[in-house]
């Protein structure tokens, strides 16, 4: 079976004088390495330069609000059940009168915590959520933490900011490329440029 056309027949025959002299072969090799020496480097110098990671990259969590700014989460606990790393913990509470503008459902998460050391960013919580409340952002990482109290993220960090809402503009590579092409052609201008993580 031939997988590539780069394979060479192994030969056991005597080397010619030219081959035994080593020097031509070494010079050829030196030519190849010096070509690479001046070639453009493929390295992306990470903290300074950041690569776009795709439309469905699973970065940090966000608890979405709806159009009126009400929290979508109803504290059903399906995300916590789905989580293979057991990173999610929540405390449910009943919505009081007068809080209808804060919480969409009658039951809400008073406490919603994600342990960022346990989380493996698999996205199963996102898939399990029946209320489209929890998402993993495609454009932001969990920042590096150095202290223990920075590990567990509460609602203060997770709930969406209404002045800077998160939209995922594409769900497949093809969609993302189509939007990129449209943006390059100047057809789409209303879409917020993707924040590079």
């Amino acid at each position: 079976m031939q997988l590539t056309n780069r394979s060479k027949q192994v030969s056991n025959k005597e080397m010619t004088l030219m081959e035994r002299a080593y020097i031509p072969a070494i010079v050829t090799g030196l030519g190849i390495t010096i070509k690479h020496f001046f070639a453009k480097k493929v390295t992306i110098e990470y903290p300074e330069v950041k690569r776009y990671l795709g439309p469905v990259f699973r970065g940090r969590h966000i608890l979405k609000r709806d159009e009126d700014g009400r929290e979508r989460c109803t504290a059903c606990g399906l995300c916590a059940v789905a989580c293979p790393a057991e990173a999610i913990q929540m405390v449910a509470a009943e919505r009081e009168k007068g809080e209808e503008n804060l919480y969409r459902e009658e039951k809400y998460a008073a406490v919603y915590e994600v342990n960022m050391l346990r989380c493996i960013f698999c996205g199963l919580c996102e898939e399990a959520c029946p209320k489209q409340a929890v998402y993993l952002r495609h454009d932001e990482f969990v920042p590096v933490f150095t202290e223990r109290d920075q590990v567990i993220w509460g609602k203060d960090l997770l709930v969406e900011d209404m002045t800077n809402r998160y939209t995922r503009e594409a769900w497949t590579k093809e969609e993302a490329r189509a939007i990129d092409a449209k943006r390059a052609a100047g057809e789409v201008t209303n879409v917020v440029p993707r924040a590079i993580p």
Partner: protein
């Protein structure tokens, strides 16, 4: 010897010493940078601009590691090994002519640590001693792999010294002098030995690769077979000394190659530059600036050969041990002897004919 002369000599030796150390230090940086570039990477670029502080960081790391001596090692020889390696590596740079002369208040100061009339013999003697550092360290470690690496280093160095010396004899036959300063001076005006001794150069550079234990002849520290070779048991700055000695050796042999075959501080058109400078700036300043240009050219050549060492390292895989010995004894030594015969014949018969024809 009066006091000024003594002081000037001390200063020259100090400068040569510091220069050798700094070049060896930055060779470690350059090695990693060249390796990175050849492999389409960036190399170290975090410590300082372009990673220029990397050697300092490495040295700091080395110093802070535990200075460990194995329980069954021979303690004194274990310490003597890296010291000897470092000592012999540094000794060799004393006789290298870095440039022609400086004129200070009518004094002529030669840019050379020691003006010896047997300079090249001295270099050979010191380089041959270099194997003791490896041998003593490898034996004192009381470890089979270290001993095997050290034995390999010793036999390899001895084998290749023969071919190296023979290839050098051809040069000595042409120059009829053992003084490095004399050999450089004779190459003035593009009479570089590389044009007369291409085969000798090839043999010499191959042997210097082997003498420095560099790839493709780095069998003494061949990690696929011998863990770390002669420095398996070493750590901390003792290991640092071994690695550092290798880079100093590399610089010294690059300098020797450029002195013997590439005319040292000579460069095309240097007479014209010299006359321009002396007529413009006077016979003292002009002379000194011309010397500095020559020294810069010399360092350019030496640094190119250091680069060549690295370039080859990241191109060629290691030889097998029997291939190494076959190449040394069965190919290079006969070739070197052949080269001597050819050179002798040319000096005896061809040279008078050509000089007669030219006149």
């Amino acid at each position: 010897m009066d006091l000024t002369e003594f002081l000037v000599k001390t200063a020259t030796i100090f400068v040569v010493f510091v220069l050798t150390l700094v070049i060896a230090m930055y060779s470690t940086w350059a090695e990693r940078k060249v390796a990175g570039f050849i492999q389409d990477r960036m190399g170290p670029n975090r410590a300082g601009w372009g990673g220029l502080l990397q050697p300092l960081a490495d040295a700091g790391k080395m110093f802070f590691k535990e200075d460990f001596i194995p329980a069954l090692a021979n303690k004194w020889l274990f310490i003597a090994g890296p010291s000897l390696a470092m000592l012999t590596a540094l000794l060799a740079s004393a006789v290298i002519p870095f440039g022609s002369t400086f004129r200070i208040n009518g004094h002529e100061v030669v840019l050379q640590g020691v003006e010896s009339n047997i300079g090249i013999l001295y270099v050979f003697g010191v380089v041959a001693l270099g194997v003791y550092g490896i041998m003593v360290g490898g034996w004192a470690s009381n470890n089979k792999f270290s001993l095997l690496g050290a034995i390999r280093a010793a036999s390899q160095n001895i084998s290749y010294e023969v071919a190296m010396g023979l290839s050098l004899i051809a040069i000595l036959m042409m120059s009829s002098s053992l003084s490095l300063g004399e050999i450089v001076a004779q190459q003035h005006g593009m009479n570089w030995n590389i044009f007369y001794q291409p085969l000798g150069f090839l043999i010499f550079i191959t042997c210097s690769f082997a003498e420095c234990n560099r790839v493709p002849f780095d069998l003494p520290e061949c990690e696929t077979e011998l863990v770390g070779g002669y420095h398996t048991e070493y750590g901390s700055m003792k290991l640092g000394f071994y690695l550092f000695a290798e880079y100093i050796n590399m610089f010294v042999s690059s300098a020797i190659i450029s002195v013997l075959y590439f005319g040292g501080y000579n460069y095309p058109g240097m007479d014209w530059v010299y006359s321009q400078l002396t007529s413009a700036l006077g016979s003292e300043t002009g002379h000194n600036i011309a010397t500095l240009i020559g020294t810069a050219v010399f360092f350019g050549k030496a640094l190119f050969f250091i680069f060549f060492y690295m370039w080859v390292r990241w191109t060629i895989p290691r030889f097998r041990y029997d291939q190494l010995m076959n190449l040394g004894w069965k190919k290079l030594i006969p070739l070197a002897i052949f080269n001597i015969i050819i050179t002798g014949a040319a000096v005896l018969f061809l040279k008078p004919v050509i000089t007669a024809w030219l006149n």
